[in-house]
């Protein structure tokens, strides 16, 4: 039994922590969009995938310096997010939620297909090898650590933006009372666009971090999208803090479950845990009354 609590379990836990940071970043973007605009971007992970391909293409195919490619990736996704809202979400804002879900589902297929047509289904890699270093018998990847640190920093920056800046305050306000926003000189449409751009940008940042760790292929969104949805539901859809905490909880199940059994079973276990929490606290583990 003491063998169970061995160093490799610790390694899994730490990796879970690092994964949690990344998932928390994705959850933040999704929750922000939902909390403000009341729409779930089912294609969120696929947008991130497009970001990964953008970065790869700029850096590997076009020879851009890595940081420039990162910046361009984030900017591209910010624009993509705003465009998604302007051209695809806006027309269905007044329609049933199912239509909004389906429309982003269509975008999910579309983006997967764009990537397939443009780059094929072979796995691509950024070709950037960051070292792993050893602590005792554990091997920790520098890429993962950087991703974790950057993700936390970005979440912190977003938090500061939301709580301190005028635009951030307006973003927090609009979901509480949209109708009176114009009285204070706020154009709700502009807030939605800005929020969409921020959501896209966060996905772009996630793309930067993921591209350092994983190979790129058109279906990679499927490895992150559904988990992000579950995390957001578990934390309470739209609840930024809830999503943050839920991401780490979930990541632990994936990491430790994957460590004890096979990788896919980690996800299954996380899902089972999620169902269990639904029985226990259906509005979300950390949900406050909305």
């Amino acid at each position: 039994m003491s063998d169970f609590f061995d160093i490799f379990l610790l390694e899994a836990v730490i990796n879970g922590l690092l994964l949690g940071g990344l998932l928390a970043l994705l959850a933040l973007g999704l929750n922000l969009i939902f909390g403000v605009i009341d729409v779930v971007w089912i294609c969120y992970a696929e947008m991130m995938m497009i970001g990964m391909y953008t970065i790869w293409w700029l850096h590997v195919e076009q020879g851009w310096p890595l940081l420039a490619a990162f910046a361009a990736g984030i900017a591209t996704l910010a624009v993509l997010g705003a465009a998604l809202h302007q051209f695809i979400i806006r027309p269905v804002l007044a329609a049933e939620p199912i239509n909004q879900l389906l429309v982003t589902g269509g975008v999910l297929f579309f983006l997967q297909a764009v990537a397939t047509v443009a780059f094929g289904v072979e796995f691509r890699n950024l070709g950037v090898r960051l070292p792993t270093f050893a602590i005792g018998e554990m091997n920790l990847s520098l890429a993962r650590l950087i991703a974790f640190a950057v993700a936390l920093a970005a979440i912190g920056a977003t938090w500061l933006f939301l709580s301190r800046s005028y635009m951030g305050t307006a973003i927090r306000a609009i979901s509480q009372d949209r109708a009176i926003m114009p009285l204070m000189g706020v154009d709700p449409g502009r807030i939605y666009l800005t929020t969409s751009a921020i959501g896209g940008g966060l996905a772009g940042l996630a793309a930067c971090l993921l591209v350092l760790q994983y190979d790129i292929h058109p279906a990679i969104g499927l490895s992150f999208g559904p988990i992000t949805f579950l995390i957001c539901v578990m934390g309470g859809l739209g609840n930024l803090i809830g999503g943050f905490l839920a991401a780490f909880v979930f990541a632990q199940f994936i990491a430790v479950g994957g460590f004890m059994f096979q990788l896919e079973w980690g996800y299954v276990i996380a899902f089972v845990f999620f169902i269990a929490t639904m029985f226990w606290k259906p509005e979300g583990l950390f949900a406050k009354r909305r």
Partner: protein, 321 residues
């Protein structure tokens, strides 16, 4: 009312006689696929039209398809019985997810996301059990048609498409009948009341979650049967085509594209999607990998924005004017 009855009867007679018009085996295959997917989409829409929009029916389809094949391949159990096993598992899953959702009023976005994750988990399980299922490569039921046999009722394998045609027609008609039955029964009034105003319905004593659960189980079981039929007809399944987000979204789109609130709507949707994929296959072929999905995705988006009532739904609304 009488006129539509006669029309329906004529249509049905034509349908049943169609294979003998000499169109050939490929069109017959298309007809089978259209009706099979029509059956599956209709099964989905029984839930969908009453406000319970599931993005996870791929889970039930997958359990049906893989269940019957695995039972047959590993234990020699006839798909008839394997199907029962698959249905039991499907119902268990439907209750497991459905009960807390309905009891705790998890609806709309939450419900869609939870069901979406469910279908992905089933897909992951199928892939994870790669030793039994062949993983992403897919699986084929062991052939029972040896020594020139063309029919094996016990193994539910028939090499003659004609047999499959009539099986699928029968199932499709059954699905339509079930659709109408749900439509007509007391439950349906209850559910309309529920989808409009849950609190009010609960206050007049309609057991909301129980009714929702019954419809969910019905829809899930029928989809599961669709999966069994699909596997036994195609004689090949892989995780992508019968489980996961992709097929789940396709089901929703198919039902909606045709018109979710009309009995024949999902079938129209199935015909539409099939025609679409066939056209794309002929026009684009396998040259540009992914182009069909691109057009499919774009169409889905355009449909939702411009034709939210679906093809049949919009047509009927126009006619009413």
């Amino acid at each position: 009312m009488n006129r539509s009855r006669i029309l329906g009867g004529v249509g049905l007679a034509l349908l049943l006689a169609a294979p003998f018009a000499g169109f050939g085996t490929y069109p017959l295959h298309l007809a089978i696929m259209a009706l099979l997917w029509g059956f599956i989409y209709t099964s989905w829409s029984i839930m969908g039209r009453l406000g319970m929009v599931s993005f996870g029916h791929g889970a039930f389809l997958g359990i049906g398809a893989y269940g019957s094949v695995l039972f047959w391949n590993t234990a020699g159990v006839s798909p008839w019985i394997g199907a029962v096993g698959a249905i039991v598992l499907t119902l268990a899953l439907a209750v497991l997810i459905g009960w807390p959702c309905f009891r705790f009023r998890i609806v709309g976005h939450y419900f869609a996301l939870v069901t979406l994750a469910l279908s992905e988990v089933v897909r992951l399980v199928i892939v994870a059990m790669r030793d039994q299922t062949g993983g992403s490569l897919g699986i084929t039921p062991k052939s029972a048609l040896v020594d020139g046999a063309t029919v094996s009722v016990g193994a539910l394998q028939f090499s003659n498409k004609l047999v499959w045609f009539y099986i699928v027609v029968a199932c499709w008609l059954a699905a339509l009948w079930v659709w109408r039955w749900v439509d007509r029964s007391m439950d349906r009034l209850a559910l309309e009341a529920i989808s409009e105003e849950e609190d009010a319905a609960a206050s007049i004593g309609i057991d909301v979650s129980r009714t929702k659960l019954k419809v969910t189980m019905l829809s899930a079981a029928m989809t599961c049967i669709g999966g069994v039929l699909y596997a036994q007809y195609q004689l090949y399944v892989n995780p992508e085509t019968v489980s996961g987000i992709g097929i789940s979204l396709q089901m929703v789109f198919g039902a909606i594209a045709g018109g979710m609130f009309v009995m024949l709507g999902p079938t129209v949707g199935a015909v539409f999607l099939l025609a679409l994929s066939e056209t794309l296959r002929i026009a684009v072929g396998n040259t540009i990998h992914g182009l069909d999905l691109l057009i499919y995705g774009a169409l889905l988006v355009l449909f939702i924005i411009y034709l939210p009532k679906g093809i049949l739904g919009t047509l009927l609304a126009r006619l009413e004017r």
